[in-house]
């Protein structure tokens, strides 16, 4: 029988371990950086990890769930449950500052802090997004839909490099 204190310590170890689980499509980001881990619950000495998808059709979710189970197995947990919860809906506000910094280093512009384009206004001015390569703000949107559901495609007007923007959501 574990007392409450050892349970707390256990949980902290689990949260640290989840930093090892990366998003397969953006391997520099852990699921903690992305903010998709909602909670860890312990029942019968086995953890239940509660995660939320970024987009409903995100194909990475199955692989993320499998990787969580593999990482937990290194601590000897064999019956880990991974539960998907969709409400409240994930938002880019939950991405950590550390995650945003890693994204930029990786060449993907991180989401702007304030949601600007996620409305139904037509032909709205392009959101000002900073080029992750040369840091210029002279950029324009090529397509609102990029290489994955969570990204838009931009191009820098100064260094001419195209880049992905992790769009606010």
């Amino acid at each position: 029988m574990k007392n409450e204190k050892s349970l707390q310590i256990d949980e902290r170890i689990l949260w640290d371990l989840l930093k090892e689980v990366k998003d397969p499509e953006i391997p520099v980001l852990s699921i903690i950086d992305l903010g998709i881990v909602r909670d860890i619950k312990m029942s019968d000495d086995e953890p239940e990890i509660i995660i939320t998808p970024t987009y409903t059709g995100c194909p990475a979710m199955d692989m993320i769930a499998a990787t969580i189970k593999m990482e937990m197995a290194t601590l000897g947990f064999k019956n880990v449950k991974v539960t998907h919860v969709i409400s409240p809906a994930w938002t880019t506000d939950w991405m950590s500052e550390e995650g945003k910094r890693k994204l930029k280093e990786y060449g993907i512009a991180p989401p702007n802090p304030k949601q600007q384009v996620c409305n139904d206004k037509l032909f709205a001015a392009d959101e000002a997004v900073q080029c992750p390569h040369c840091e210029s703000w002279h950029t324009h949107c090529i397509s609102e839909f990029g290489s994955t559901a969570c990204k838009a495609l931009y191009q820098c007007d100064d260094c001419r490099e195209p880049f992905d923007y992790f769009k606010c959501h």
Binding site: S87, A89, L122, F145, A149
Partner: protein, 250 residues
């Protein structure tokens, strides 16, 4: 009551799956690369929504059904999607892209107001799926509205094409706002969505120099399983693997 609710959830799921499947036919054939990626991203969102809904329906049915058996092993008559989403992408010579765009716009506008409405549904799972999906639908609506305007207010050729598409598709929009028995029984008031939808369509059409058709005979039946000839072909394609190799996985 439970089977009524399952019917309704299947109706929502089938709408999303069939439109997702239709849009995915564009994969590798889009007019330009960015729009090929856009339409297939929209497919992915729709199929994601369909999965959440099928999973919930399977859970309620509790008869061994799974999200896969609901998508791959039901017959045409068991599908409850509206007729609009099963309509073809458009004959490439005469209409092409315009029909895909217009179908997406008419449906996204409907889904936008529907999901807004369902966010306050008493069923917490339906409300959660609506809350999650509406963020994606907002993108679809904005993207397709801009394309309707671009085509309608574009060249003579693009204008003519989207007008032809409108003549093809308008007759399938009436059904969206006529409650099916399961909607009636659950108190899902689709009639109440019509004014908002109509205003949205009219506003975008005005900018696109198009007018809203009047006095058109409305074709119905999809929501209760009587489909146009197109659905059978879609299912033949979609379900082929599971029918030929039952239970196959990769």
């Amino acid at each position: 009551m439970n089977s009524t609710k399952t019917d309704y959830i299947l109706h929502l799921a089938d709408d999303a799956l069939i439109l997702g499947q239709r849009n995915s036919e564009w994969c590798g054939h889009g007019p330009i690369l960015e729009q090929d990626i856009a339409i297939t991203n929209i497919s992915l969102d729709l199929i994601g929504q369909a999965r959440s809904l099928y999973q919930y329906a399977a859970q309620l049915k509790a008869d061994g059904s799974t999200e896969d058996s609901l998508a791959y092993l039901r017959t045409e008559r068991e599908f409850k999607n509206c007729l609009l989403v099963e309509q073809p992408n458009g004959d490439p010579i005469t209409i092409g892209w315009a029909q895909t765009i217009l179908r997406q716009f008419l449906f996204s506008a409907y889904q936008y107001y529907l999901y807004q409405y369902l966010q306050s549904n008493s069923d917490a799972t339906i409300a959660a799926i609506a809350e999650k999906s509406i963020k994606e639908v907002s993108y679809h609506l904005r993207w397709s509205s801009e394309w309707v305007i671009r085509l309608g207010d574009g060249t003579e050729e693009s204008h003519n094409r989207i007008i032809k598409a409108l003549e093809e598709l308008w007759r399938y929009t009436g059904e969206l706002f006529i409650p099916a028995p399961y909607e009636q029984e659950l108190g899902i008031d689709v009639t109440s969505l019509k004014n908002d939808w109509y205003d949205k369509v009219r506003t975008v059409f005005e900018q696109a120099t198009m007018s809203v058709p009047e006095n058109v005979y409305m074709q119905t039946g999809g929501k209760t399983g009587t489909h146009t000839e197109h659905l059978g072909y879609i299912l033949a394609d979609l379900q082929y693997m599971q029918r030929a190799f039952p239970g196959c996985e990769w």
